[in-house]
Subunit: 226 residues, 2 copies
């Protein structure tokens, strides 16, 4: 694990580490001013499924995935959270998904009880909490719509979404592996790979390195985004 982290240091520095703060991250009001910062190495668990949801989190730098492993070993990635995104705010008092750092990440950790206590007195905080849950709900609804599409459509939708979130122009630097993408899209790693290759052959995208994808024909992607 340490070795792999070192091995990936170069591209990480090149891509993730130097992303300029181009896209403004959602503001979370009073929540922005709370919590303590923690660092997680690549692939480190932030919390596990079934654990008490004692904290809520905000990505300061790096990227996080949430996921659930089914009884037979299949893994479903619930979402990817990038710098500025909040995660870990669950309906009940137990985490229904696990969360891991995709790359070395800094995360703001906020005590849930402190926030809910504050919400009792401050309706603004209460509204923020509700908004946050609502935003997550919409994201998960969109994920459902993604999962009923064809492989090509799923990949196109994914690329456009990531482009919106991390893009500098048309170049998209992905923090996550093909396996992460596959598990997010409900496909196999082979299908994701083949789909990207196919899109490249159509000049819809370029794949200069496996983690870097350049959108060359957004119209074609949008057509698949149906």
């Amino acid at each position: 694990m340490l070795t792999t982290a070192v091995r990936n240091a170069s591209w990480k520095k090149a891509s993730i580490g130097n992303v300029p703060p181009t896209v403004p991250r959602p503001q979370n009001g009073p929540l922005d001013m709370m919590g303590a910062q923690m660092s997680f190495p690549r692939n480190a668990e932030i919390y596990g499924e079934g654990e008490a949801a004692e904290y809520i989190y905000r990505v300061v730098s790096g990227s996080v995935r949430t996921y659930k492993v089914l009884a037979d070993g299949r893994r479903q990635v619930g979402g990817f959270y990038l710098a500025g995104d909040m995660f870990g705010l669950e309906p009940g008092d137990e985490h229904t998904f696990s969360a891991e750092a995709i790359v070395e990440s800094k995360v703001l950790v906020i005590k849930r009880s402190a926030v809910t206590a504050l919400a009792e007195r401050d309706t603004e905080v209460a509204r923020q909490l509700w908004n946050l849950t609502g935003r997550e709900l919409r994201r998960v609804q969109d994920h459902i719509l993604l999962l009923i599409k064809s492989a090509h459509e799923r990949v196109a939708t994914f690329l456009l979404e990531m482009a919106e979130r991390v893009s500098a122009g048309n170049a998209v630097d992905l923090p996550m592996s093909r396996q992460d993408i596959a598990d997010y899209l409900g496909l196999t790693i082979e299908t994701v790979s083949r789909t990207l290759t196919h899109m490249e052959s159509l000049a819809t995208i370029e794949v200069p390195s496996s983690r870097r994808i350049v959108l060359r024909n957004r119209a074609a992607l949008n057509r698949l985004n149906a």
Copy 2:
């Protein structure tokens, strides 16, 4: 477009516009004591995708489906709401799904602005709104996990879920058609039908009539529920 036709139906405009004064019926939470009751015939639209989310709803009797129609005509059913369930509380101020009565249904219609205004002053109401959104979030997350399973697993999971919600013993009376089920599970109507037939041939279930299903071997279904 089909939805447009339904949406413009005159009975609907008339009824939404003329919500009669509240007849409060004493129940539990603050949300329960608000709103006006309305009746919707079978297949009537309650609200349409893209409309302002002016109301939130509670099923009094009957059943409701929410759904979204994709550009190419595919329909995804987001959820089924039975007596007692609340629906229509959306993150933003526009409905992202449409809602229709599956059978003749009575629905309590609650003005959203009234509730949110109340939530500003009453933290209990605020908490209830948050809980409601959180419960919906968990439901949608479970739906994602369903959509990555095999056809047999999806149908088994669906039957067990419905059994928990409507069951009198092992008999499940489904309000919805095979097409509704298929669009909820992300399958075709043929696959749903074949899967039920197959389960019947294994004596896992009985299908005395197409809308009535008797669970004969829950252990077998639970095994598929993986």
